[in-house]
Symmetry: C2
Subunit: 292 residues, 2 copies
């Protein structure tokens, strides 16, 4: 049996599946994200139940972060510098008590979604691809030639410094950078400016920032596609505006035939799996631990 | 025998070495970069001479670009959209006439330098690493977990949109983007503003842009090190200013212990090989063709 744990800022999703049919969820639960003691104990209870009845072979964990995803690190599997109250320096291994030597792997939430969308969804079959979420935060998971990018630290393209839109005077909300991408384009930043979802010129401003992420990712890893999910990305017309502005900003530099230049192409797409992407990605991770 | 060709905007460097001692150059020549007919014929003459006497087993080419580096593409090995007079849509295979079925590989000039520095120089032993050149142009070569990043197009981080320095009103020189990184921080952009190398506040302005590249690369691929070469990077004090500003801009987001936060760390370094990096990288490429 494979087990998957996706920890989000507001809810946790746990599931188990059979190794010979890894993407059919045999059992699953959703748990609200509360303080770590309560939350990790609830995850542990679900996992232990299945480990004692069927035996778990591997566990994949996709978690909000910043998360230490370097297997050699002394804080591998820790949530590190999060501003989320109570979750600073929390060791997610505490959710795994009693599983003994069952292999466990950790990836960030966006990498989990990337792996899920690549297995079953909008990135199926693509080897160089990015998954971005624009919502409460802005995060990006990146795969290059079939390998998740996770080296010395974790890719955190949600915090790139974007060029300011001339009509946007908002100071930005990022506690590190003020007006980085996340500080300007996250749901809370939109809420703080306008008290409601962006529309009209506001939507163009947010799209201008997200389009800069698309350009940066394109220039950095040359992906075949960029999947963009998250609450802000659901804003009516936003992705269309991103498609337009990304082409304008790139200005043909990567070639006129590159799909970033065609707003009707499938270069920038919605996720297919919705909030199931992370748990399916965690199952992919669990499978990969057994293949090693 | 292995052969290497490095084509730069002003000069070409060709070399051959023995397979059992690939980084000792048995013979080499330097040729000024003129019109393609003359230049490619001179490369061809050097390669043919060695092919007919010793027999070449593989050729690695590291070239200025934009270069099509996708082996499946119909224009693989072409210089594509370059503004360099006469070199638009030039097929570099024309330098290889008479070599028959000798395998040949193409990488961009910065990727060549990256491979060279990784084999013998400032990036020895590192698997996730970036090499940037800031000179006549701005280019970045990227390796993730031992693989050169070269997917759907080629990484071109030299053209990221940077945030403008408040004291810099220069419009920028990039023919695509105006004031992207290359448009603001390249040698010609510095020359156009000040007529001489940057110093004092000017140097801080250029360092601010290069530091944004360092931050973007760090957030994108989480490298263990970033090697920065090129004529502009040689400006006295510039790299020190980049080290300072990169840490300031990152503001601890990837952790206080990340070497980007310590200007005295070896996170941002000079190349070790100088103008030999490209040709040694091309030899690494030639070797890798034989390993396949």
């Amino acid at each position: 049996m494979l087990a998957a744990v996706e920890t989000g800022g507001t809810k946790i999703f746990c599931a188990v599946s059979r190794r010979d049919d890894p993407h059919t969820l045999v059992d699953s639960i959703r748990i609200p994200t509360q303080q770590p003691e309560v939350t990790l104990a609830a995850i542990n209870e679900f996992l232990l139940k299945h480990h004692s009845s069927e035996g778990l072979d591997a566990v994949g964990v996709a978690s909000f972060g910043p998360l230490d995803t370097s297997p050699g690190s002394s804080t591998y599997g820790y949530i590190t510098t999060t501003p989320k109250a109570g979750w600073l320096n929390i060791d997610l291994h505490r959710a795994l008590d009693g599983l003994g030597k069952v292999p466990v792997g950790f990836v960030t939430d966006v990498t989990g979604s990337l792996l899920g969308e690549r297995a079953l969804g909008a990135a199926t079959g693509l080897d160089t691809v990015a998954y971005a979420t624009v919502g409460t935060g802005v995060g990006v998971g990146v795969m290059v030639q079939g390998q998740v990018v996770s080296g010395h630290g974790t890719p955190e393209l949600g915090h790139i410094l974007v060029r300011r839109h001339p009509q946007d005077t908002f100071a930005g909300l990022c506690s590190y950078h003020g007006d980085c991408l996340e500080g300007l384009a996250s749901g809370p930043a939109i809420q703080a400016r306008w008290g409601r979802p962006a529309e009209g010129t506001e939507r163009e401003i947010i799209a201008y920032y997200v389009a800069q992420l698309v350009v940066a990712v394109t220039l950095a890893i040359a992906p075949a596609r960029i999947v963009i999910g998250g609450g802000v990305a659901k804003t009516t017309g936003l992705l269309d505006a991103v498609r337009e502005q990304a082409g304008t900003l790139m200005a043909g530099y990567v070639g006129a035939s590159h799909p970033i230049q065609d707003p009707a192409s499938d270069y920038i797409v919605w996720p297919d799996l919705g909030d199931l992407a992370g748990v399916h990605g965690a199952l992919v991770l669990a499978e990969s631990l057994l293949a090693e």
